[in-house]
């Protein structure tokens, strides 16, 4: 018979799949849950369960939404002439924190990565192209990560959007080398926006 009941082992395994959580931490978390009152673990369970039922990608920008459109796309005060292109939904949160950008977003869902079989068709680039081609959009700001894949993606988007008749700019490299947007502090992101350059 195993030392630890199956129910705990299962929880340890699931916690262990989360980013930044090693086997020891997973075990600690599982035993912590065991010690906490049942209503708390039930709340956690319910929150996890509702996550995928209630949250879905925004139909326009692919940021997270609890309806058809996300909070940003449904905000009439946002400037639809400006599009900021990011890799992941979390990057939107980072840019929003800077308070520097008043336009709309487009979440690509990653960056070009031939090693992982990710080409333009695996990203929401066709959708971006369609949005950029509308009369409303004047400038597309590319804010992919300043790493190898993000830079190559930015260059690719620059070439591809040139045909859409919009101004394409790249976030300035005030970002520390190798830093993800997600980890950059507000001031750095704000400076990067102020200093964006044409592609």
């Amino acid at each position: 018979m195993p030392l630890v009941p199956e129910a705990i082992e299962r929880l340890v395994t699931e916690f262990g799949r989360l980013p930044g959580i090693g086997p020891k931490t997973a075990q600690r978390l599982a035993f912590h849950c065991l010690r906490t009152p049942a209503e708390m673990t039930e709340r956690l369970g319910a929150a996890l369960q509702q996550l995928h039922q209630q949250v879905q990608p925004c139909a326009r920008c692919f940021f997270i939404a609890d309806g058809d459109l996300c909070a940003i796309c449904s905000d009439p005060r946002r400037d639809p002439a400006l599009l900021c292109v990011v890799e992941e939904a979390l990057d939107v949160v980072a840019v929003e924190r800077s308070g520097e950008f008043r336009g709309l977003y487009h979440v690509l869902g990653g960056a070009l990565s031939p090693m992982d079989g990710i080409g333009p068709d695996e990203l929401r680039i066709a959708e971006l192209e369609r949005r950029a081609a509308t009369d409303e959009v004047r400038e597309v700001v590319i804010a992919t990560d300043p790493d190898v894949e993000g830079e190559a993606t930015a260059y690719y988007l620059g070439e591809r959007l040139a045909a859409a008749g919009v101004t394409v700019t790249r976030l300035a490299h005030g970002l520390p080398a190798g830093a993800d947007l997600e980890y950059a502090d507000e001031l750095t992101v704000a400076r990067a926006f102020a200093g964006r350059r044409a592609l």
Binding site: G22, L112, P114, M115, D147, V148, E151, Y156, R160, A177
Partner: protein, 381 residues
Amino acid sequence: MPAGRCAITRLRLYQFRNYPAATVTLGPAVNVIAGANAQGKTNLLEAAATLALTRSPRTSTTGDLVMWGQAACAIEGSVARPGGDTTLALRLERNGDSARVSRTATVDGKPRPARSVLGLCPVVMFWPDDLQLVKAGPDARRRLLDILLMQLEPRMAAHMSRYRRVLEQRNALLHRLRTEGHGGSELDGFTRELAHHGARIAVARSQLVSALAPLANAALRDLSGGDEDLVLSYVAAHQCVCDNEEQSKLDLLAAYRAHASEELARAVSVIGPHRDDMSIQLGGRSARTTASQGQQRSIVLAVKLAEMRHLAQRTGASPVVMLDDVLSDLDQTRRGLLVSLLAGRDAAQVLITTTEPLHNTADMRDAQHFTVTRGSVVPDV
């Protein structure tokens, strides 16, 4: 002579390779670490080098450094330098069952990214393979330059790892282009990234070789007394002068355009610093094809001395020099000369491993001696 030296005064290992736990207090000059085969002599030098470089110079599989069956290992070294003493530590931890290993470097107890550890304890290493440096393939010479560069300019380490990454991506894309016939539109972006980092690496290496060349030539005279000139030069696969990053980048981009069909046919990137080399000429001829075995040995020693002196000049302190089992391959004269140059004139701390006892040799009289047996190291009394 440099203003001072950098020395590892104490090295502690925990579950590193075959060392369960060990503490060695090293002397400031020559340290001789003796032992039979497979006892842990190379492992001990590897630990010191890994601490200084934040990664092993011996393997790219970091998990190999952790003792078999254990989850983590640690190395800690007290480093005495002219600017004050520091304690460097590196901890490696396996991530569950995956092959991935997480690394945490600390300087004086504070976590630091790898780039701020590089250069704090400069090292020059001399492994048995280095004796083939003249004859070996170009990657051995590129590695020598790169290890030196990342210690001199830590930001180069970032360009090198980006370059390796984009090279992998670009080769994967070329492969897909060849097999599936699509992906061409993404190639340009990766090519630019490759040229961007590649140009920086090529220029930095080329400048480094220019700095090493006169030092190596002078060192060869000290060693062999011959009068033939030793000339080192950087040879870029894209035939660039490599003295300016912007120009070098344009040259690289032009070379990629010129080799486009070859790259597609072979599905690999055929141009760039991963194909460059350092040419070694003696008396106007390629040392690889015309120098005698003895001359080639002397050239290798001269290059090692040049590495050391360049690091000493640039950082203001002699680096720690490690000689792994190479003395037995040198004749008595070269060996004596090398040790007296390193420990005497250049006043470096030297860590020497050997399978033969060196107690009674004249050049080792003032050395500190240790014996390694199955993962434990003790000073000789």
